[in-house]
Each structure stands twice: as C-alpha cells, then as structure tokens.
Amino acid sequence: MSTFRVASRARLSLALTGAIGVTVLAGFALSGTSSSAATTRGARAADATSYCGTKPGVAATGTPINLGTIDTKQAGTDFSDISSMAAAYFACVNANGGINGHPIKYDVQYDQTQPAQIAAAAKALIQTDKVVGIVGVTDILECTIDQAYWKSLGIFEIDSGIAPECWSTPNSAAVNMGPRYSSDGAVQYALEQHATKIVFDQSNVPGTGYIAAGPAAIAGAAHVPITQLTENVPVTDASSVALKEVDDAGPNGAVILNFTPPDALVILQAAQKLGIVNRVKLWGCSTPCNTDFLAKSLGPAWNHKLFVNAELTDPDGATGAEFALYRGILTKYGSAVSGGIGSFSQMGFVEAKFAVKALETIKGAYTIKSVNAAFEGIKNYKSAMLCSPWTYGNLALHIPNNVDYTTTTDNGIMVVAQGCHKISSADPQIAKYRTVAAAHGL
C-alpha cells in the first residue's frame, strides 16, 4: 500500500502540474483569440474615435479622476461586458485629451451575488481606490445593498440595473429600464396586437412580485386577463414549461418571458420542438432576449414570431456619428468586450458617454461633491442609442428611460418591429415617475 503510494506520487504530481499547465494554456489561447478577433475587425474606424475627447490625439497626463463600478460576474450571469465597454470609452477619452487634461482611472469590482461581498466592494471603491463617482454598475443586487451607503456619501450612481432600488430611490438612475418596465413594454406590444390573454413567466429570482406588478397593471388597465408564473432556474424541463405557458395562453393569447438569454432560449426552442409555437398569437420577451446570439440560435423558424422589448437602438445597420464612435471604440479599445456589438456594450457606452459629458461641465476640483453634483445635474442628455433624452435630477425615484423599441427575430438577427414607444402610465411606478419629473419641470 505504502509503496504503491510512493510510486504513484511522482506520476500524480506530474498529472496535476499538467492539469495546471493545460489550464494556463487554455486561458492564454482564449485571450489570444479574442484580441486577435478584435484587431482584425479593422483599423478603418480608428479615426472615428479621436473625437471622444476634447483634444484629439493628445494623451491626458494630469492627476487622474477615479471612477468605479461593481458588476456581477459569475458563471451564467456575467455583466462584465458593460464595464469593459465603459473602460474602453474612458481609454479613448484618456488618449484624446481626457477631462480637461485629467485621465479617468476606472476601478472595476466584480461580485458573485453575495451581499457581504457587494457591500465590501463599495467600501473598497471609496476608501481604497478613492473613487469620486460610480458609473456603469450592472449587478443583480447592488442597488439594494449599497443604496443607503451611497446616500450617506452623497453619491449618485449611473447604472444599468436589475434590482428594484435602481429605479425607486434618489441615488440611482439607470440607462436601461430593467426587468419590470421592459416586461411592461413587451406586454404592451402584445396588447396592441390584440392578444386576449397574457401569460407572464419569469425566473424565480428576488423581487418577482415587484416585476410582475408592472405587467399586471398594464394588462389590468386593458381588461385583459393575465397569468403570472415563475420558474426555478436553470430550467431543466423546458418542454413542460413551454407547454404550460401555451396551454394557459390559448390561441389568441401571448406568452411573455422575462429570463436571461440562455433560459429564454431553451424555453423557446422547446416550444419549437414541441410544434406549439403557433398555438399562441405571439411570443414576447423582455430586453435580455434582444441579442443576435438568441436570434441566430432560434433560426428562421421564428421569423416575426418573437417580439422583444428593446431599450436601446438596434446597432445592426445603424449609422451616424455616435454609432461610428461606438464601433470605433469597440475596435480600438474594446478587446475585453467579449460579446462585441450588442446591448451590453451599448449600455456601457451610453453610461460612459453621459458621465464624461457631465465631468466636462465641472470647473475646479474633481471631488465626490463636485462630480456627483454634475451627475445629478444631468438634464436632457441625448444619445442616438436612446429613444428620448436622459435626465438624472434630484428626484425620489428615477426611470429616465421609459420610451423604447420592439424588435423581432428575422433570419438569425433582431430587427426593429416597432419604433420608439412610450411605456404606459398604467404602471403606477411609471405614472409616479412622470408626475414627480413634471413637478420638477422635466
């Protein structure tokens, strides 16, 4: 027994070293492919990036302005593309004059959805990294966990959120609409297509009741019955789920999904395999489904059958200076953006753009006070990626993005099915926001 052990030890350590070696190689191989893919996309658009800053071609060398973010990065739920894109935008700004000569230093903290870790990350940003502003946060829980902390420091974060507090508190404003208002939009579209019943199914994650309240109010206002369902994720029995949804909706009803792309995909594919896609009037989806990855996986069988609420302008074929800049930055600085062109990188782009524009208004020192006053003061900033101008403001709640598109699947890509459309004030939170905003003259 002991001799066997000794004899095998050498081989084992060899195997373990081998395993580590393979892993390291694999890691390099991955980073190698992604960066080379980015560079081959061409340096043609490189000159488009020069006007992201105020002094084209002049690198910023002043004392840095520290900005920070916290993103969920775990297997299955990874939002790091958003901060990677924001980082790419800031790199572009830094290479072209910075903010009045000051480069932006961007500190990214990742979390694996553990509340203690998220609270610690916020403290690390403030105390260790000395950040003066929070931009680009995309996290399942961050808005809930850190709201009180940001409020106590006077920080106004610019984010693309998921938790309810991202839209219901004074210290957070998002460029996206989040699960509730995006689901509102999907339900609204289905109602406009005269669906006589809505089945709203979502993943069983924190805050399902908060999310479901929106679609329920929209359907209620139209006097259309709605069934609320939740599924534990990851979905392992997608066929049963799809069957249940279709049975509930009936031939003139609509099934609206609020899931991450992988879970939405398995449900939709299960419906296709069961041959029950056409047994409902239409399928709808909140914004996560708005990716070409999903459209490609679904294929032409789904052409114009799935309608997805989209918060941002479809980048496919979009022209204009801002999209040229977006593509240019992605090519020149965005090697870390694994998903490339898509709504994740668009969100990071818009958040960084607004932050930079607000920073440029500051005269004097860049402190927590001055930077956050500038963020809070953002009023009617325009972006070609958003339907309507974006405003922060000193409000009790913020839903600045409340006008949006609907896209649909078309031969493996998502195309626009309906242009900019207001989310209905039948959702009481939307109504409340519009009242509050109007009272502040916005």
Partner: protein, 314 residues
C-alpha cells in the same frame, strides 16, 4: 412535501385538479425528461459497476465535449457529425486519462473517496468551461441536432426524433450494457475488478487493460450523453455539470447496482415532475421530485436493505 403517492388527495382536495386532457401532453414531456435523467443515471450506474467508481464528473465531461463541438461547428465551421464525434472522443480520452492517473491511485480506497475525487475533476472542468465559454456579452449557445426538426404528433404535441433517440438510448444502454457486463468476458472481468481488484489480479485478469477499457467506454458514454443532453436540456456548463445531482436520484433508487431499476426510476421521476408542472400551487416545488423520491426510497422503503448495504461497505 410532494411525494409520489400522498400527492393525489392533496391535489384533488385543495388545488382543483386540471382535467385529464390537460395532463395528457405532460406525459410525453415527462417521458422526455425521464429519458434525460435515465441517460445520465444509467450512465453513472454502468460506470459504477464497471469501475467501482461513482463518476460524478459524468455531466461535466459531457458538457465540455458538447461545448467543444459547438465551438467547432460555429467558429471553425466543421461538419457537425465530425464535431459530435470529437465530442464523444473527448469524453473517452478525458475519462480514460482520469482513470489511468487517479482511478489507479485511488483503487484501494473507499467508494466515497473515489466518488469525491471525481467531484474534483468536475470542478476543474466546470472552471475551465466558464473561463473559455463566457457569457459576459449575453451569449447563449445551443446545439440543434438534425433530428430536432422532424418527429410525429401525439396528443397535439410534436415528439421529436431526438427525444425518441434519447429515450431509446436509455433503453439500449440498459439492455446492451446489462448484457455486456453479464455475458461477455470483458464485462465479467470489469465487474470482478470493480468488486475486488487484488483478487481479480491474482486470477490472471489483465487488470490495467480491462480497467482502461472500462474507463474509455464510460467516457464515450459520457460524451455521447453530453451531445444529447445539450440538445434536450441546455448547452450550459453549470446546468449540465450539476444535472448529475438530479440524475443521481434515479441511480440511488437503483442502489447504484440495478440498471433496470435506475432506468424505471428515472422515467417515474420525469413523469411525476412533468405532471406537477400544470398544478399552479405546487409547480415551483416540482424540481424537488428527484430528491424527495430518492430520499423516500432510501430512507423508508429500503430500511432493511440499507442496513445490509452499510455492511457491504457502500
């Protein structure tokens, strides 16, 4: 708790049972889900009987093979059958490699140690998959077999050939591997080896070669199941890696020995799970089905058997 038998009065009394017509299609989705559990459950039992190792990395090996196949098809434009073949070979090679290095090193140890060690392999593969196939840009992946696009209609729903193949594979695997282990020379040698390595060695069985054959064969099974499960469940590293936990329930009901019982248990689990789906008030608890049935089977039904099992040293 929704267990198999005490469920019905509950449903009828409190919940208002959906009509039989509503239930019918769920029988077929249930059979499909049962097929999924059977595929990996039976696979694990076969491996256990042939090598004496409960191979908990079964799902992870298959998942990685399927992701490699996806990569080859979508990035390299490889012919899909060739890609699936590579996936199956990947399963065989990785499992064989593990068997040669760790299977032998741990051959004299308890079944528990051998099983926990395979969790180590599962974690390594899972970490690698998450590193190499990220979802940071909202990526979603899928494998669509040509057999998905056709099938036949039963009870107003389409049953695809992939689902039929999945179920058939379970049956074929049950019969073929059962017969193989029982009637062929190699199979008998594998069983003997799994029971007692040293005695088998003294009997003149070429231990290393037989073991290698068992590991490679089981790896091939894992790779094959990987492609099917990626199509039937989802092409997602975490989902497929930990699907073994649910599938294990069926294997446990078969007491890690009986391939037939494992197969039947898997089908029953799938059916119960699917039949609960349309019942609104408990639908979210349906994922408990495998665990509850396994716990009931192990703790209540096998009260006496359990004692003898613990003496057997399982």
């Amino acid at each position: 708790m929704p267990g198999g038998i005490d469920l019905h009065p509950l449903i009828i009394g409190v919940l208002g049972l959906p009509s039989w017509l509503d239930f019918q299609p769920f029988i077929y989705t249930g059979l499909a889900l049962g097929g999924v559990y059977a595929l990996s459950g039976v696979g694990m039992v076969v491996l256990y009987r042939a090598t004496g190792v409960l191979f908990l990395a079964f799902g992870a090996v298959g998942a990685m093979g399927a992701l490699i196949a996806w990569q080859l098809i979508n990035a390299a434009g490889l012919n899909q059958w060739l890609a699936y073949l590579i996936c199956i070979l990947f399963g065989g090679v990785v499992t064989l490699g593990y068997g040669i290095v760790f299977g032998r090193a741990l051959a004299a140890r308890e079944p528990l140690v051998k099983a926990v060690a395979t969790l180590g392999l599962a974690l390594i593969l899972l970490g690698l998959m998450d590193l190499l196939w990220t979802s940071s840009g909202g990526e979603s992946r899928s494998i669509t077999l040509p057999t998905d696009n056709s099938g036949f209609i039963i009870s107003q729903i389409q049953v695809t050939w992939t689902q039929v193949i999945g179920l058939a594979c379970g049956v074929v695997m049950t019969i073929v591997t059962g017969a193989f282990l029982r009637f062929t020379k190699l199979g008998t040698a594998m069983r003997a080896l799994a029971n007692d390595r040293e005695i088998t060695a003294t009997l003149g069985v070429p231990v290393r070669r037989v073991e290698a054959a068992a590991w490679f064969g089981c790896g091939i099974l894992a790779g094959f199941a990987g492609v099917l499960l990626a199509d039937l469940v989802a092409l997602d590293a975490t989902t497929l890696t930990f699907l073994v936990i649910s599938s294990l329930a069926a294997a446990l009901i078969g007491r890690l020995r009986s391939i037939v019982v494992t197969f039947v248990a898997a089908i029953v689990i799938g059916l119960v799970d699917a039949m609960i789906t349309p019942i609104q008030s408990i639908t979210n608890y349906r994922d408990m089905t495998p665990f509850v049935l396994a716990a009931v089977a192990l703790l209540v039904v096998n009260r006496q058997r359990a004692n003898s099992l613990s003496r057997e040293g399982i």
